[in-house]
Amino acid sequence: MNKVAIIGKGHSRFGDRSDVNLAELSFEAIQPALDASGLTAKEIPYMALGSMGVWSEEPLPAVVIAEYCGLTGAGLVRCEAACASGSAAVFNAYSAVMSKQTDLALVVGAEKMKQIDTSTVMEMIGRAGYYMWEFENFGMTFPAYYALHAVEHMEKFGTTEKDLARVAVKNHRYGAMNPVAHLRHEITVEKALNSNVIAWPLKLYDCCPITDGSAALVLASESKVKELKIEDPVWIDAMGFASDTANISKRENYVGLSASVKAAKMAYNIAGISPIDVDVANVHDCFTIAEIMAYEDLGFCEKGDGAQMIRDGETEIGGKIPVNLDGGLKAKGHPIGTTGVSMLVELTKQLREEVKPTRQAPMKNYVALAHNTGGTGHYGFVSILRR
């Protein structure tokens, strides 16, 4: 098997990107990723795209993006794993390189969610629970799904609405320092607590925004790394994967996501590390409660102690394990299929100590973890990077 390296990365500005179409937005990430690798588009034999689509007009975004960015002729695929589509695309390209099918692959995440109105976006995402049993008659939304988790977590472990707000405050603080983040303003606990209820107990500031954005990575085998004379690349040490029931009613409980637990165990095993070895993490904070559950599911603390970690500042710079130093989904934004790719772009920067000192995690082992879930914990991917 090949070892797989990240040799180039690119990231568009996230936000309302009504100034560009999906292909133009993708170019903003793809071209810098190619430039950083010293490659041109025609040298790329394979491209995997993470994208949900539906909110933008092209049903076959991979071919449109490939043509626009000069990649026509390469093997193409669009991967769907809901909000983890980006990680599914990474896994697809990583597998292609690891299995020696190709020495080079491009991973792209691209999503334009601002082309339709907000309530239709809520509808399209809400339908992605289990349409037949949870949407048709009951109109579930994604905030509502995570609210179901928050209510049980609060009851069982004493997590409070204030704890949820603390997650938003932390992620907004780092988002404000990230030039590509969607929401670049700091907030207070009071502001978060006083924001409008979306699905009780989750309020506006407990929810990630609706965002446009793209990200790209060039993956290469070890021999290609040598051939291209790439010094000091970042390696994908492991990827873990898992899933959970389509019907949320069939889950054991609502205080965590079992797909996250399983995917994390697999990734830790393959990489031969434990949670304490991780210097910096990006976790899937689509809602504030999701970040607290992720601390627990990923083994950063015991089940039930997630809120204590945020109270004690353990997930800020200077704490036990800094989390979401790019602002997370909460402040950087969550262009559905882009997120998994964007997380790896950010962690590659963190590992290479390329970000502003004010949001740079201190590196001890040069190990980073990305946690990306899709649907309401339906899909789970955990990736471990090492420099």
Partner: protein, 143 residues
């Protein structure tokens, strides 16, 4: 705010899906009679809700129908305030997951009570619900 130039496309698309229920038609017919049914696999004995025609885990299609008495306790709940487009005419609604005495969990709307009065562990009853337009569903009400 400045709006970026865009082509205002007028090619709108309305999609309405037909939802096939041939294999679980008993479930929908019984709802009209005021009864809520689950399915049970004859091979492994597992009771399942929502109903299924096949048992994935053991690969069997030998399924029997069981009526649910509907006594349950709330496991978790929420109130949906910001609604999806096709529910925009509805007032805010409470969604609860309750565990029934038969062992299965069910997600449905909970009506007849305010969110402030709810708590985990509270007893609820699962009931069939027939709308004026003959559409059927099921809901929880306070026990």
């Amino acid at each position: 705010m400045n709006k970026a130039p865009s082509l205002e496309s007028n090619r709108s698309l309305i999609i309405t899906y037909n939802l096939p229920i041939s294999k679980t038609s008993k479930f929908w017919d019984e709802l009209k009679q005021g009864k809520v049914y689950a399915t049970k696999c004859k091979k492994c004995g597992k009771l399942v809700f929502p109903p299924v025609a096949d048992c994935g885990p053991c690969g069997s299609s030998e399924i029997e129908w069981t009526e649910l008495i509907g006594n349950g306790k709330i496991v978790t709940f929420t109130e949906v305030v910001v609604k999806p487009a096709s529910f925009s005419e509805e007032p805010s609604y409470i969604v609860a997951i309750a565990k029934l005495s038969e062992g299965v969990k069910v997600l449905a709307w909970l009506s007849g009570i305010k969110k402030e009065k709810l708590h985990i562990g509270m007893k609820v009853k699962l009931k069939a619900k027939v709308f004026s337009d003959k559409k059927v569903a099921y809901e929880f009400v306070p026990a």
